[in-house]
Amino acid sequence: MARVVLEHVHKSYPNGFVAARDVSLDIEDGELLVLVGPSGSGKSTVLRMIAGLEKVTSGRILIGDRDVTELPPQARDVAMVFQSYALYPHLTVRENLGFGLAVRRQPPAIIKERVEAAAESLGLTAMLNRKPAQLSGGQRQRVALGRAIVRDPLAFLFDEPLSNLDAQLRSDTRTELARLHLRLKATMVYVTHDQVEAMTLGTRVAVMHEGVLQQVAPPMTLYREPANLFVAGFIGSPGMNFVRGTVRRADGCMFEGSALSLPLSPLDGEAAGDVALGVRPQALSLVPSGNDAPWRGTVFLVEALGSEQIVHLAAGDVKDLVVVVPAEQRVAIGDEVGIHVPANAVHLFDVRTGMRLGA
């Protein structure tokens, strides 16, 4: 197992497209780092550069303190699980699992032993002599996983490994992966566009957007203190509500939107000019109209999820303000309600730079 370090890694293609811009990451030994971002954000490119499948334009990559920047994938001793699983269709499960050892000319007895141990731990023993075409999606996924485990590599790389599974299997396999990481204590880099996977699996989560690392932090920090507008909007479901306005500093701090205003706890620094006020749907609550709630709105859609309800309101200049309320609260379309905004749940962002303001 090893530490994986990226130093100012830059990747641009001959056509001018920049896939990664000055990416620096220090992935600790035994850490599971999740790279998350929308498609085209460069997260897969970063993973492929660690694997050696893409050359870096500039910068350095170290695996276990060894500079591997110029090394081909064969010499890096990492294992990768592809989204397509990439099982060799002409080989049996046994041969698939043992491929990495066989090409390194390990003795057959050792290959047999390690393949069978991995198959045992993944419940694949009964399928060792089958071909991939005779396996279900979940079984294929486990073979791909097993092929990585058998190698005992310096680091595991996962490229959206769950996105081809159906919802139930995806959640089971996610749990299995989390347990696998606990058991192996291996360094893992996991690419996904699914924020639930990112939040549940990651020791730390790195959010990427347009080739730039936005924030690298433990999942709860990302959720509670998003570093900028992009992270704030990307992490959390339903997404954070944003209200445009300005901050006025006469007699305490005051957020003033065109229709929605809010007194703020005192801000550090020079928060002036245009800001975006962000507040999570889970932080807001609905109170009867006429109450002294700071905002008011009209309900136009209610989505009942069983455990909770997602209420969409038109409030001032915000056309779709989302509030998550308990399942038992009675809300109906057309209701005029007050919206309670806890002062400590508010995030402020500079509209110009997108950066978080205050603490």
Binding site: A51, G52, L53, P72, P73, Q74, R76, D77, V78, A79, M80, F82, S84, A86, Y88, P89, H90, F99, G100, V103, R104, R147, R151, L157
Partner: protein
């Protein structure tokens, strides 16, 4: 329903149209020479193997068969093995001028054979290769290689790139990737390429006629063409020889039919 009947009728007509000459050739090759000039029959009257016996007893037909097998076989092995390496490089490696190389390879086939048969003859004579196996194999490889490379580039491009990348990350060298992953997976493509190359060489006539001097090195098509004497054409023997020359290829193609169709249509539909 009537659409299906129509379809079957058209198919039957097409098959009859295509198969009739072969059927006639088989029937005629089994018909005694004395009645060959008579009206064609649907079944040979007094069937006989006399023409086939004459082929081997009188004309040493095993000689041209041997020559054809050696020339076509060697050309096929060379084309498929060297062609696979070239095609893999052209399909997968990043290098400058890939398109230009492919275009030049294709351009080689654009010269009509008849236009280059004289210069080739001079060249082969200078190399003392006239009336030798290499003297036929060399030009055949030149002509068949572009086809092989183009077919194989197509097959290799259809292989999922993930598999090769997976193999590289697993620690396989380029050579191991080729041998353990790419070649086994492109077996249908290799078989198709081999069969098409073999058929091309097996049927080739002009070069075989021009670059050989006698029966020692003549191939099957040339031998058959030279059956006709000054005063007579031995139709029975010619047809018997044609059947013997066609049958092995037809049997191989039928045996591998499914693979060839798979190969020719691979990637047309997913899965």
């Amino acid at each position: 329903m009537s659409g299906r009947v129509w379809w079957r009728a058209v198919l039957t007509a097409l098959v009859l149209f295509a198969a009739a000459p072969f059927a006639w050739a088989i029937i005629a090759s089994l018909t005694p020479g004395a009645v060959l000039g008579g009206a064609p029959a649907l079944w040979p009257r007094n069937p006989t193997l006399e023409h086939y016996r004459a082929l081997f007893a009188v004309r040493s037909f095993w000689l041209p068969i041997r020559n054809s097998l050696v020339v076509a076989g060697t050309t096929t092995v060379l084309c498929v093995s060297a062609g696979a390496l070239a095609a893999y490089a052209l399909a997968r490696l990043e290098m400058r001028g890939k398109r230009a190389i492919l275009a030049v390879i294709l351009a080689v086939t654009m010269f009509p054979q008849i236009a280059i048969v004289s210069p080739l003859y001079m060249l082969l004579r200078a190399m003392h290769l006239i009336d030798s196996y290499p003297g036929l194999i060399l030009p055949y490889v030149t002509f068949a290689m572009p086809l092989a490379v183009w077919l194989l580039v197509g097959f290799f491009r259809q292989l999922p790139r993930d598999l090769e990348e997976q193999a590289m990350v697993d620690g396989a060298s380029r050579w191991q990737v080729m041998r353990r992953v790419v070649l086994p997976l492109s077996a249908p493509g290799l078989a198709t390429t081999a069969i098409l190359t073999f058929i091309y060489c097996w049927n080739e006539f002009l070069f075989a006629l021009s670059f050989t001097l006698g029966p020692e090195r003549q191939t099957v098509p040339v031998a058959i063409a030279l059956f006709r004497g000054q005063y007579q054409i031995p139709w029975g023997e010619i047809l018997a020889a044609a059947i013997l020359a066609t049958a092995p290829v037809a049997i191989v193609v039928l045996a591998f039919q499914r693979r060839i169709v798979q190969g020719l249509t691979a990637g047309a539909v997913k899965g």
